[in-house]
Symmetry: C2
Subunit: 344 residues, 2 copies
């Protein structure tokens, strides 16, 4: 098994960190207040294995039943456990050739056969590639690292043509402008929507992810979870996660700010000659024809601006740039202006 390589976590504080799609804004004020008042004496006891207060808060936010929700240690835990739970046949699981690069790692870890239909030249997922026999389907929507979103009507068509296998829609970035597949969950009992607190909720450091689906899918996940680790989410994650979900206003404001910054940066990068798809996420996946992306990546790093670079076929012409604050993005844009006027 070749492990997944996460983005760097530099310890220097002066770095502009646009490399792991973290949210530039802090968690909701209620989260910070609860942290200050948290009773550490309680840590001597095990946490609630069902994470009830967190599950209840999520159920209320999304208007679903509590037994339609499964929580894990980040969406990676939820996705990894879903691979282990649902993908154990001999037919190949399908996911795009360019997508979240953990999918093939989990398949490798658990010995799951898989095939990876190619994106089209505009980085779109071709729905027709998923209209054939398979052992499961995984679609990141919007997709990573491209940022390109798939319309809900395409997801619906894929679901209609695949009643027999489990379909996972990884919506890590959906809050920034994609169309969620949550409305399909009651109709398609085999469709699981996976979400994370790491991006739109500014809580990557707390490791919280969840899945919403039919209660039969959720109870299958729970059986596997309780066969691996009874207590996965620790007390602070459960309590602070629930508090985060309660503040819809802050959540919407924060997401709104990031979307606004993103659209401005898109405009400015286009003016500079960058080319990219219409990202619906908190990152952009950009190339500048005639520019060596690897060189640009290293020059940015030397200047204290970390972005993500994938040294792989197709991807190696691109940089993946997280949307930070306006100030951070201005520093990035200034760097580019300077570089392209002959400064690098």
């Amino acid at each position: 098994v070749t492990p997944y390589t996460p983005g760097e976590q530099p310890q220097r504080r002066d770095i502009i960190k646009l490399n792991t799609n973290e949210n530039p804004y802090p968690p909701a004020p209620g989260v910070l207040a609860l942290l200050k008042n948290m009773d550490g004496n309680l840590f001597r006891k095990y946490p609630d294995p069902d994470a009830t207060v967190l599950v209840s808060a999520i159920a209320e936010f999304y208007g679903v039943d509590k037994n339609q929700i499964f929580c894990g240690v980040g969406s990676d835990d939820v996705l990894g456990m879903s691979f282990l739970t649902f993908f154990n046949g001999s037919k190949p699981v399908l996911f795009p050739d360019i997508t979240y690069s953990f999918y093939d790692v989990w398949a490798g870890l658990f010995g799951i056969p898989f095939e990876t239909p190619a994106l089209d030249s505009g980085f779109h997922i071709r729905k027709e590639d998923y209209f054939r026999e398979n052992g499961g389907i995984v679609i990141a929507n919007p997709n990573a690292p491209t940022g390109v979103a798939m319309p809900l009507s395409d997801i619906r068509e894929i679901a209609e043509k695949n009643r027999e296998s489990v379909i996972i829609i990884d919506e890590a970035y959906v809050d920034f402008g994609g169309e969620t597949a949550l409305p399909l969950v009651s109709e398609f009992k085999n469709l699981l929507v996976v979400r994370t607190f790491s991006k739109s909720r500014s809580m990557a450091g707390m490791r919280i992810g969840f899945a919403i689906g039919d209660e039969n899918l959720i109870s299958a996940l729970k059986r596997v979870k309780y066969s691996y680790n009874s207590y996965t989410l620790n007390m602070p994650s459960i309590l602070l996660g629930a508090e985060s979900v309660k503040d819809r206003k802050y959540f919407e404001e924060t997401v709104g700010k990031i979307v606004k910054t993103r659209e401005r940066v898109k405009h400015e990068l286009r003016e500079m000659g960058f080319v990219f798809g219409d990202s619906m996420t908190n990152f952009l996946f950009v190339k500048k024809p005639g520019t060596d992306a690897g060189k640009l990546f290293r020059a940015l790093k030397d200047a204290g601006i970390y972005v993500r670079y994938f040294d792989k076929p197709v991807l190696r012409d691109y940089l993946r740039i997280t949307i930070g604050t306006d100030e951070e993005m201005n520093r990035l844009l200034d760097f580019f202006r300077h570089a392209f006027s002959g400064g690098v």
Copy 2:
């Protein structure tokens, strides 16, 4: 797969909770102080995937190298991942018939063949049962739920006779009086010692466990971890866990108090006619000949005193009772005195 059944986590505050081997004392004062000063703004970023500050603190405490340490979400995560990493041959993994009841669950989850040699009538592990071909060995020392410890010389003999397979010594309870196998780790490159913060460090609610072994074993575990979830320990676990390890004095004091209470309770229970092995843990596994343990379990529960009862052959004559504070144990002893004088 039949999941493991954890002990109940009642929400009522007035319960005397002696059912999940939690520590009755709070985490170290430094942990509580750091919690109050923790900067929740940092939660927007991913945690350090290597949990460096925690690993460094553990390395210093035990005098081992940092690359000899693997951390996980409780020792369950560390053990489960060890099963997945090391036990994938066709030969059976060996562990006792009466032991931590998660071992056969993990074996079932990952399709690992296993055999379970029987304890002797005094609940001792018979070392000779492990002198034969196998795909791995798992020994909880002291054992659960019996509390009985195995001498280090027996562990050494098992290690000497098994150079080819990975030997896991699960030392969840060793701080309360067992002999650790840590001195064997440098000599036996195939021996892994697994520990938890949930018992002797009063941090069950934080979910921290770790393994110490040869760096090749540790790097194999890391490869699997990074193929499942890059970021398992969240920021509070890493920071508060490290803080806990730094306070050796509080740790030793707390453990000392529990051992003292345990020895007193042993004496009093013996006087009442209870029979049990010489527990070296923070719990006792007791029976009272002529008394229905299941009935006693339910009567205790009705009185607000939760202990653990396993309704299985051999075990169903016993209660597993966690050592709480002196006050809590007095309430338990009073209940027994009352019950056995005809009160129940």
